[in-house]
């Protein structure tokens, strides 16, 4: 059955992948009679609408699934059973009247309560006008009682007018009116509750709550799953996963961040306590370049979610001093009496190596079908269309969602699913590559740093700009903080 899926008008690239992920997540709870949930959902757009508009139609096997998706989604405003639509109120009436009675009557009967809400997009409709529009629906035989708070059935009249793309977002080209029954809406308290502003322990690269929840949704976080963040920092991504019931684990190379925080009640643990969430099952200090997992251990994590250390602001470090890796100094031995308090020196960690290590770790440690969800930086150059994302024989890329940070840089949220086992050959190839990286440390560092400015603070400033001139075919993109 087709549902009208109305999105929030933000993070455009992230919207359909989120719905598809949630459909997969809830598919296992579906009543088998309703049929399987395909891994790729069918989508449609209203006539002449651009895919970046908030109005989409999605084909889902059941209303229950549509409701669950809407309730959990971050970017779906609501899912509706469409009773009619048209370019004018006359067309709408015709369309609603021709919608089968057996789909309508049970929601209109005299025992039930209902409410009609008028919503608009691209224009403002005054209360007076709203009343008139509702009166205009008298051709629908509503028998129930009007109840404004928690009615049994919520109906929506949504008018979308053509307006210019003034806020940097694409214009809607044609007026359209939808009338439908609400199946499910988003939980709008979630993001304010978890906003970083009120977070107990914050770091400069903490993931904002909305993005962290999107990542947790891409990772299919749910009760009984174990989710790992190898670059845990202040834990902001795992907080979102824990909110959805996942068990969590995290590691970071920086002991001050992962162990000390800003005191006994301001640390990674307290970020979970603040929201009454279960604590991570484990936090440790470790270098993802040399992960300390025991060799025989495989396939334990259901998902790995992270924002890897790229670039200046949270540039990655790895074990081994810079000079040591360059070969400028002989390896030395840390004297015994200095060992306990010795702070090992670290060397810069290039993008390519960091991604290589992440994919290798994920290939080994994820269960089959498990997901790797992480950010990847890209330069928005001429050849942008041909961006190559990292590949790995164990993984299939299922979505890539771009968030433009400035005219030159973007970050892309990649979601990969593990489709092949971690074989001996793959492990051996990774081991050789690891040594190669070590031997050619400087060269890789130069190549790898190409992208490293992406997350520098200077660029973060640029994200405030809303320059709508910036368009690029075939897929126009709109600059702006949330797009």
């Amino acid at each position: 059955m087709w549902y009208l899926c109305v999105f929030f008008h933000r993070l455009l690239d992230y919207r359909r992948p989120e719905v598809e992920s949630l459909a997969q997540l809830f598919a296992s709870f579906e009543d088998p009679q309703n049929g399987d949930v395909p891994s790729q959902l069918q989508w449609k757009l209203p006539p002449h609408y651009h895919a970046d508009s908030p109005f989409h139609f999605v084909n889902l096997p059941s209303e229950q699934l549509a409701r669950k998706i809407a309730n959990r989604s971050i970017l779906v405003k609501g899912m509706y059973e469409l009773w009619g639509e048209g370019g004018s109120y006359e067309e709408l009436k015709e369309s609603v009247l021709s919608y089968p009675d057996e789909r309508k009557l049970s929601y209109l009967d005299s025992d039930s309560t209902f409410k009609i809400t008028v919503d608009s997009f691209g224009k403002v409709i005054s209360l007076e006008e709203q009343k008139e529009l509702i009166h205009g629906l008298s051709y629908i035989p509503f028998k129930g009682r009007v109840k404004l708070k928690n009615p049994d059935h919520n109906f929506w009249l949504i008018e979308v007018d053509n307006y210019g793309g003034n806020n940097g977002l694409p214009p809607i080209v044609q007026k359209r009116i939808f009338f439908g029954r609400e199946v499910g809406v988003a939980d709008r308290k979630l993001i304010p509750t978890y906003q970083l502003k009120s977070r107990n322990y914050l770091g400069p690269t903490a993931m904002d709550a909305e993005m962290a929840f999107l990542m947790a949704n891409q990772a299919l976080a749910t009760s009984g799953t174990l989710i790992y963040d190898p670059f845990v920092g202040t834990g902001s991504i795992l907080v979102a996963a824990a909110h959805f019931g996942a068990m969590t684990m995290g590691a970071d190379i920086d002991i001050r961040v992962v162990r000390d925080g800003r005191g006994p009640d301001r640390n990674v643990w307290s970020n979970f306590k603040q929201y009454g969430l279960p604590m991570p099952l484990g936090l440790l200090r470790a270098d993802n370049n040399l992960p300390p997992w025991r060799p025989m251990l495989k396939e334990v994590f259901d998902a790995i979610i992270c924002d890897p250390p790229y670039g200046v602001r949270a540039g990655g470090r790895k074990s081994g001093g810079r000079k040591l890796l360059k070969g400028a100094v002989q390896p030395y031995t840390v004297p015994d009496d200095k060992r306990t308090d010795h702070i090992p020196s670290t060397a810069p960690y290039s993008l390519v190596e960091c991604v290589h290590d992440l994919l290798d770790l994920a290939a080994k440690m994820l269960v089959m079908g498990g997901r790797l969800v992480f950010f990847y930086p890209v330069l928005r150059e001429e050849d942008f269309k041909e961006t190559h994302f990292p590949e790995h024989p164990c993984f299939k890329l299922i979505s890539s969602s771009e968030q433009i940070l400035s005219s030159r840089y973007s970050r892309v949220l990649l979601t990969m699913v593990k489709t092949g086992p971690y074989t001996e050959e793959i492990a051996e190839a990774a081991r050789i590559k690891h040594i190669e990286f070590k031997e050619n440390h400087l060269k890789w560092l130069e190549d790898g740093n190409l992208h490293s400015a992406v997350f520098s603070p200077a660029d973060a400033q640029l994200t405030e700009a809303g320059d709508s001139k910036f368009t690029k075919d075939p897929k126009p993109k709109y600059r702006g903080k949330y797009v």
């Binding site: 002991i255 162990r259 484990g282």
Partner: protein, 122 residues
């Protein structure tokens, strides 16, 4: 550090062949109640190295685990409770994890194992 984490870790010092299991030196052990999730425990049971787990629980002062276990025991509530308690509720707050091959101590402070290697160990 919970014993689940301990069971997953090894000493990855360059040249070390048998870095698992790390021997626990317990200075301070605390107990924290965790809600039980049977489904999760069953999944983890498959991944656990049982011998290392039992030894670790002894080092933490808990002696209620059977020497050997197989998945049929997961049907017993009593077993499940003990498994849950040892795996997730016992914490090494202060102490160290010792590499079985080299004797190198990985300190555990405020519940966080420090697995970072020194320059001459990578």
């Amino acid at each position: 550090m919970r014993l689940l984490t301990h069971n997953m870790l090894s000493s990855n010092i360059k040249g070390v062949v048998n870095g698992f299991p790390l021997r626990i030196e317990a200075e301070k052990v605390v107990e924290k109640t965790v809600e039980m999730n049977g489904e999760f425990l069953k999944k983890m049971f498959e991944k656990i190295d049982w011998k290392a787990f039992v030894d670790a629980s002894w080092a933490m002062g808990y002696t209620e685990l059977p020497e050997e276990a197989d998945s049929s025991m997961l049907d017993s509530d009593e077993f499940l409770n003990r498994f849950h308690h040892a795996l997730l509720e016992l914490h090494l707050e202060e102490g160290a994890l010792v590499c079985p091959e080299t004797g190198r101590r990985f300190p555990v402070n405020k519940g966080i194992p420090n697995m970072l290697l020194h320059e001459d160990e990578v």
